[in-house]
């Protein structure tokens, strides 16, 4: 992993839109007075959501003012966590888990699929400028390895063909169905549950 630098091209200014503002206020309200700084991570995430999956510097300044904390502290947080994108990524942002369990189950096949369908390199926009992909560490769905995340949804139990199919759907502007691609319910065994049958929500 290398230090992620903020993008060279930056928008002049940033502002929350009304729904983001609403969300931000709800979050800030959860913290005691004078401790509103604690909301910084959540707010960065809201920015990322509003701003096509990445956080411009102007937004860090904006949050600094919003929470009455120094810009540099916001900047520190944003550079610390890899899940904050500091440079533009695709509107459809594909994250492929390549940590051990997924890797053993063939995660690099999914990477190949991305290279074929989206772009040769990580963090590079596809031809239609709508997609980009990156490798990430464990996303916590190891039981359904290999898997990838597209924006807020998980796509699990994949292989190369299935990935290509999903990517095609996306490139055609449609939303693929999230979840297991081998017909599992969450992470239950294939062909349904064999134990704890008497519990409904086990």
């Amino acid at each position: 992993m290398s230090l992620r630098k903020p993008s060279k091209e930056q928008p002049e200014s940033f502002k929350f839109n009304s729904s983001s503002l609403e969300a931000a206020k709800t979050i800030v309200a959860k913290y005691p007075k004078d401790k509103q700084q604690s909301a910084v991570m959540a707010l960065l995430y809201i920015v990322q959501k509003q701003n096509n999956n990445w956080i411009p510097l102007a937004a860090m300044k904006y949050i600094g003012k919003f929470l009455d904390m120094p810009y540099i502290k916001v900047y520190e947080v944003a550079t610390f966590y890899t899940m904050y994108n500091l440079a533009p990524v695709g509107k459809h942002f594909i994250q492929i888990c390549t940590t051990t369990p997924c890797m053993i189950r063939g995660a690099y096949k999914l990477v190949e699929a991305c290279k074929e369908k989206i772009s040769d390199n990580e963090n590079e926009l596809s031809k239609d400028k709508n997609c980009s992909w990156t490798e990430v560490e464990c996303l916590g769905a190891c039981v359904n390895a290999p898997m990838m995340q597209i924006n807020d949804e998980y796509y699990e139990d994949l292989d190369k063909e299935k990935t290509i199919k999903i990517l095609n759907t996306i490139l055609n502007g449609k939303t693929p169905k999230p979840g297991s691609y081998r017909g599992r319910t969450n992470n239950e065994p294939e062909n349904n549950r064999k134990t704890l049958m008497d519990l409904k929500n086990a």
């Binding site: 992993m1 290398s2 230090l3 120094p70 810009y71 540099i72 900047y75």
Partner: protein, 680 residues
């Protein structure tokens, strides 16, 4: 009190101390990088690991509170191994460039790795490289050397009050940087150079100038402002190479301002190194004899009431004293003054021109009211103390004017003198705030003492404070921030002439009453010269020398022993670290020799006689009861006026600073910062 054991030695320590502090009490040194007494605890370097009985793992002593019955060990194999391990990790990415590193010889990492480290590295991988950062004209960065102790980050946030430095990224990629790489907007910024335990942040103007062991070190006192910061002057031959802080908990703690530290290159430029005489508007070199004889013939032929002497901002007390003696005894004149503007002075009591609550006292204050003062620029170190007070006690701070960004939040009034009237008539919320405060602090700055209503402002507030018993033996809330290093000293020695608080000498000077004017290191005087014959004695070819007819080359503060009294009235001595250049002489000597030429008799046989005579005099002068009579104060006139705050050119405030290239760069950096507007 807690009882505990360190290496089997029994010690008793106060509650609330850390294990590291307890070890120090027991006389045991703990190696450290991130821990610093004056900063918050970070606990991120792990160099201070110790063994504590019953704890299976080594413990970071700087972050661990001491508790009753602890058994701490610092000399076991376990601790040694832990230290070696930490050292090895710290050095994994640290470059081996000590031969070209300015920190070499005074580097904590170097010293501690000699002591606690291993002599071999097992690290075969590539070392990381971090690009240099732009931190302005004073701080040179070499970030590959950084060990991420975050001392600089904590200093900027806590002491300097400019949270502009931060640690970005994580793990191996962690870097220290200022926000988007711009210089720190603080007058204390260069203290991070002292704090940085390695060579990551070093001094830019001092780059590759000298090695610490080549320098002669002299303990001294700073003269850039009236605070009397304690400094150490490092010289190489004649040249002052650098100035560092000396710890004095009562005054500057461990910090010095950037001006104190970096104006010293001004000591090398524009020096007056030989006497000069002006013929037809041109200066020509002369000998001491020539100039003394010309001065003698001039002085002998003029009525003594037509002669005046003005003392400048950087003059030490010995010189002030002999200057006064020269005027009173040799010339028989009393026209001497040390104020170079029309500021108000009531010398009846010493408390009228001192910072009576003391710099230390700021921390105890529960309410601070500033009248016509901008402490950030007038007394930077004192301002750091106010910030400290604010951080510790959330002290309420109100300023009579809006004075822009300070390093702490404050409320401001609109600067209308009407408000003073309301305050003293109990008609203003401030009145109650002062009355209700146990230890209020009223700070008068130069701008208030220079204004037209100065007398009214000062005397009426003082009376108000007296009435409400805020001026007493236990707590004196009356505080004046003096302008210059020489101010309090010259008032103590009586270098002023006043009946009603005004500056009579200056008034007469402006009305061209005087025929001969003797300027002793005066460079901040706005004077329209007519027919006056001007003698200038000083160290730099600055504004004073420009208008002079005769120049007597003197010495700067690092080139002669001299006493200074700081704004709280503390007498301190600056020691000679270097010597005056070429023909130039120590200032007291010049006046003594001139007196000899005039009267065939020296004023003093030697410096010792001068010193002891002066010290005797101070005690006599201090509680004098002259000039302003109380009757003068009864009907103070009120004048409608808006108090203006003089914005002094901080980096250009005296002759030495004006001769300094570094100060010029600071000034430009600041202007650029303002122009790009990146700070907001």
């Amino acid at each position: 009190m807690l009882k505990l054991k360190v290496n089997e030695i029994d010690v008793e320590v106060e509650e609330g101390l850390t294990v590291l502090q307890a070890c120090e009490k027991a006389g045991i040194e703990i190696p450290r990088f991130c821990y610093h007494e004056k900063l918050s605890i970070a606990g991120n370097c792990r160099m201070c690991l110790v063994e504590i009985e019953k704890s299976p793992k080594p413990v970071a002593s700087c972050a661990m509170p001491a508790t009753e019955g602890m058994n701490i060990k610092t000399n076991t194999e376990f601790v040694e191994k832990a230290r070696k391990g930490v050292m090895e990790f710290l050095l994994a990415n640290h470059p081996l460039d000590c031969p070209v590193c300015d920190q070499g010889g005074e580097c904590d990492l170097q010293d501690q790795s000699m002591f606690y480290g291993v002599d071999k590295s097992r690290y075969k991988e590539n070392k990381r490289e971090v690009s240099e950062k732009n931190m302005g004209p004073l701080i040179k960065t070499q970030m590959t050397r950084c060990i991420h102790c975050t001392r600089c980050v904590r200093f900027a946030t806590e002491i300097a009050g400019v949270p502009e430095i931060g640690a970005i990224g994580r793990g191996e990629e962690m870097q220290i940087t200022t926000y988007l790489e711009q210089s720190m907007e603080s007058e204390l910024s260069a203290n991070v150079v002292d704090l940085c335990p390695v060579g990551a942040l070093t001094s830019k103007p001092y780059v590759f100038e000298a090695r610490p062991w080549e320098l002669k070190k002299t303990e001294s006192i700073d003269v850039m402002d009236a605070v009397g910061t304690n400094i150490r002057v490092d010289t190489y031959g004649w040249e002052v190479k650098r100035i560092l802080p000396r710890i004095n908990e009562d005054i500057n703690e461990e910090w010095i301002s950037d001006k104190t530290r970096y104006a010293c290159d001004g000591l090398l430029n524009q020096r007056l190194d030989t006497p000069y005489i002006k013929y037809n508007g041109k200066f020509e070199k002369a000998s001491w004899n020539e100039v003394f004889n010309i001065i003698k013939s001039k002085l002998k032929n003029v009525d003594k009431d037509k002669i005046c002497g003005i003392a400048g901002d950087l003059v030490n007390m010995e010189t002030l004293y002999i200057f006064k003696e020269f005027f009173n005894k040799t010339l028989g004149s009393y026209n001497i003054e040390s104020r170079t503007d029309h500021s108000y002075l009531n010398p009846e009591k010493r408390e009228n021109y001192l910072f009576n609550s003391k710099i230390n006292g700021i921390e105890e204050a529960d309410f601070i009211f500033m009248v016509g003062s901008n402490p950030r620029y007038e007394a930077t170190i004192l301002n750091a103390r106010i910030r400290k007070a604010y951080l510790q006690n959330k002290t309420k701070i109100v300023s009579f004017n809006n004075i822009g960004e300070l390093t702490y939040p404050y409320e401001s009034l609109d600067g209308d003198i009407e408000n003073i009237k309301k305050i003293i008539e109990n008609n203003h919320e401030i009145s109650n705030m002062i009355k209700n405060a146990k230890k209020p602090l009223i700070i008068f700055g130069q701008s208030s003492l220079k204004s037209e209503s100065a007398k009214y402002i000062f005397e009426s507030i003082k009376t108000f404070l007296e009435k409400n018993e805020k001026i007493s033996k236990e707590w004196n809330s009356l505080n004046i921030i003096s302008k210059n290093a020489s101010t309090v000293g010259s008032f103590d020695l009586g270098v002023y002439k006043t009946e009603d608080g005004s500056n009579e000498v200056l008034k007469n000077l402006e009305n061209h009453v005087f025929e001969i004017v003797y300027l002793l290191g005066v460079d901040n005087l706005k004077l329209e010269k007519k027919n006056e014959f001007i003698i200038y004695q000083g160290s730099h070819g600055d504004k004073g020398a420009e208008i002079a007819d005769i120049i007597l080359p003197g010495a700067a503060y690092t080139e002669q022993n001299g006493y200074f009294t700081n704004l709280e009235g503390k007498l301190q001595k600056a020691y000679k670290a270097s010597y005056p250049p070429e023909e130039a002489k120590e200032d007291w000597l010049i006046i003594n020799e001139l007196a000899e030429v005039m009267n065939h008799r020296k004023l003093f046989n030697d410096k010792d006689e001068l010193d002891s005579s002066m010290l005797n005099q101070i005690n006599l002068f201090i509680e004098k009861n002259n000039s302003i009579k109380s009757s003068n104060l009864e009907n103070l006139e009120f004048k409608q006026e808006i108090l203006k705050i003089d914005i002094e050119d901080y980096y250009y405030s005296n002759a030495i600073a004006r001769a300094s290239k570094t100060m010029l760069e600071c000034k430009n950096a600041k202007i650029n910062l303002k122009l790009t507007g990146t700070e907001g």
